[in-house]
């Protein structure tokens, strides 16, 4: 008898589906048990093989062999029983489904691709299974037998404490099927309803996951890339100045490649999310869209020849965003209009035009769709966005517009930056220092000097970054002192 499991608190189901639910739960319990028992089964097979080998080589007597085989056979009994039990349950479920016309399908990760899930629901309805209810928290969908029809399902998202917007169901355009904390499902027969839930919430969610995946990749890549580069340069300088040791090179390369293994699931995750972002961007008017290149490479080449296009590379503007804002404003004042920024924020592309008075602002906020639409409504242009960083611009005549009346908010980020950078660079420096000290114990002194030379620019660079962050924080603090608003 498979064990009985209580409904976990987040699982909900309509009461008419109770018998089917119970059967499904039984099947799930049997499946779990089978999965656990398969480990025992694996051991059993090993034991069986061992017994046969021992008997064949004459290590074991006949009596021992018989006992061993019987024991292995006994261990197999529960597996077979479980498999039969599951088949029985499966038959019962199918019978129940045929009898009541109900179906329950589990699609746990439906939120990874909302559009595909909607297509799936539409397809189910076309085959005569209408969605009656969905437990969105657990990803379980409950269907009942209905006439085959072309119906469109829409999964909308909403803020956690809000009800389903009534204007969708007004006038009978949509029928509400169910709602969870953050999502709801509507049904309509119109192929192109005048007002329908937007995909912004889903897009926002996907973009958040994408940015998290990207920052993991970048952070991990930078830290270990730098370390790997250092180690390799040490190895090279050691091999050149002291002696070449193949074994050491191999050991270090294997160790180094181990470091990069966590990148693989990270890259896969990023690719998967990026795949879901694309269709969602096409499905709604994307409020997260930033400025993007509006010229073809050919046109750019022409503009460049006419000295009307300039590309500037700035990688570390984030360590002192206020300086970057002032620089961009100065460029605008000279008629160099910022047209777009590179994908990774490292390049600024300017097109020669009229001198403009434009206020730039760098903000740190991983906001909802409302964050972006509110600023855009208020006249700001999203220049660049890589969550949680966004760059905004706003043209003005006399008074520069304000982004925050209470810029104290900025101190939090500046402080974090001013604290984290020195710690990170100290850690990185510490790792290098170990190599440096190690090199002292090498026989000759040449290696010591070479490694010192490699380290010096690196340490100088980290020091430069650190002082930039700290000075940014000090500037913010000094500016905040003169602000009169309190929050």
């Amino acid at each position: 008898m498979p064990m009985r499991r209580k409904l976990s608190p987040h699982e909900t189901s309509p009461s008419s589906f109770e018998p089917l639910c119970r059967m499904l739960k039984k099947r799930r319990a049997a499946k779990t048990m089978l999965f656990v028992y398969l480990f025992v089964q694996a051991l059993d097979i090993l034991l069986f093989v061992f017994t046969i080998v021992a008997f064949a080589t004459g290590e074991m007597e006949t009596a021992g062999f018989v006992v061993g085989v019987v024991f292995c056979a006994l261990l197999t009994v529960p597996t077979v029983a479980l498999i039969f039990c599951m088949r029985g349950i499966g038959k019962k479920i199918r019978a129940l489904e045929g009898e009541s016309g109900q179906k329950i399908r589990v699609r746990r990760r439906f939120e990874r691709d909302i559009l595909a899930c909607e297509r799936w629901l539409n397809g189910m309805h076309r085959e005569g299974d209408a969605l009656a209810y969905a437990d969105l928290g657990a990803g379980r969908f409950f269907f009942i037998r209905a006439e085959s029809a072309t119906v469109f399902y829409r999964i909308g998202s909403k803020p956690a404490d809000a009800p389903v917007p009534p204007e969708f169901t007004e006038g009978g355009r949509f029928t509400e099927i169910c709602a969870s904390e953050r999502r709801f499902i509507l049904k309509t027969e119109l192929a192109d309803p005048p007002l329908s839930p937007s995909y912004e919430g889903e897009l926002n969610r996907a973009l958040k996951i994408k940015s998290r995946a990207a920052s993991f990749l970048v952070g991990y890549g930078v830290i270990f890339g730098v370390l790997a580069a250092l180690i390799i340069s040490f190895l090279v300088s050691y091999s050149v100045t002291e002696k070449f040791d193949l074994a050491m090179v191999i050991v270090f390369s294997v160790l180094l490649s181990l470091f990069f293994i966590p990148l693989i699931p990270g890259i896969l995750r990023y690719k998967r999310v990026a795949r879901t972002v694309k269709p969602l961007e096409g499905a709604c008017d994307n409020p997260f869209a930033a400025l993007s290149p509006s010229f073809s490479p050919k046109e750019l080449e022409k503009l460049k020849k006419e000295k009307k296009y300039v590309k500037k590379i700035r990688f570390f503007w984030l360590t002192a965003p206020d300086l970057c804002e002032r620089w961009l404003e100065k460029m605008e004042g000279q008629g160099w209009n910022l047209a777009w920024m590179g994908k990774f924020g490292g390049s600024f592309h300017f097109i020669k035009g009229e001198p403009r008075r434009i206020k730039y602002f760098v903000d740190y906020h991983d906001g909802e769709a409302e964050y972006y639409s509110l600023h855009k409504d208020n006249g700001w242009t999203l220049v660049y966005s890589a969550r949680p960083i966004s760059v905004w611009s706003h043209g003005y005549v006399e008074q520069p517009p304000v982004f925050y009346n209470d810029p104290q908010i900025l101190t939090r980020h500046a402080k974090a930056l001013a604290l984290v950078t020195p710690i990170c660079s100290a850690l990185l420096n510490g790792a290098d220092a170990v190599f440096f000290v190690m090199s002292r114990f090498a026989k000759g002194t040449t290696f010591f000097w070479v490694s010192g030379l490699i380290l010096l620019p690196y340490i100088a660079f980290l020091g430069w970054l650190t002082q930039r962050c700290i000075r940014y924080y000090l500037r913010v603090r000094a500016a905040i002192k003169n602000i009169k608003y309190k929050m």
């Binding site: 809000a162 937007s198 804002e325 600023h375 517009p401 304000v402 925050y404 209470d406 608003y485 929050m487």
Partner: protein, 124 residues
């Protein structure tokens, strides 16, 4: 109402007070900015960053909730807590005003015309 809310929010900052005040009827974020601009006669220009941050904070403390959220606009309305907090602050401001009136004869409070405040940009 929660004593802690009163302690954190009273006395209120001007921006916080005006945002709460503008929610006398349900409004969305940009509506609040426009309404406060009109109500104060251009004296107060709210930055959209401040409005967004304040609204999130108010929602977290259950001073406001989402009224209707359709296509792109999230409309907020006051909760009972929010209303109570606003009324407390109003009573405080009334007291401030009355106290000011008592001392009126010694100071020239009415004369200078309130100029539209110059919004001080932070780093300019």
């Amino acid at each position: 109402m929660n004593k802690k809310l009163i302690k954190t929010y009273i006395p209120m900052s001007e921006t916080f007070y005006y945002i709460l005040l503008s929610l006398s009827e349900p409004r969305h974020g940009y509506g609040i900015i426009k309404y406060v601009g009109e109500m104060s006669g251009g004296r107060l220009t709210l930055g959209s960053g401040t409005v967004y941050g304040t609204l999130s904070k108010m929602r977290k403390d259950n001073l406001i909730n989402v009224f209707v959220s359709s296509e792109r606009k999230t409309v907020y309305k006051l909760t009972d807590d929010g209303r109570e907090l606003l009324e407390l602050e109003m009573a405080r401001l009334k007291q401030v005003y009355e106290d000011t009136q008592k001392q009126k004869e010694f100071f020239n409070a009415d004369a200078p015309k309130a100029k539209p405040a110059r919004n001080k940009p932070v780093f300019v």
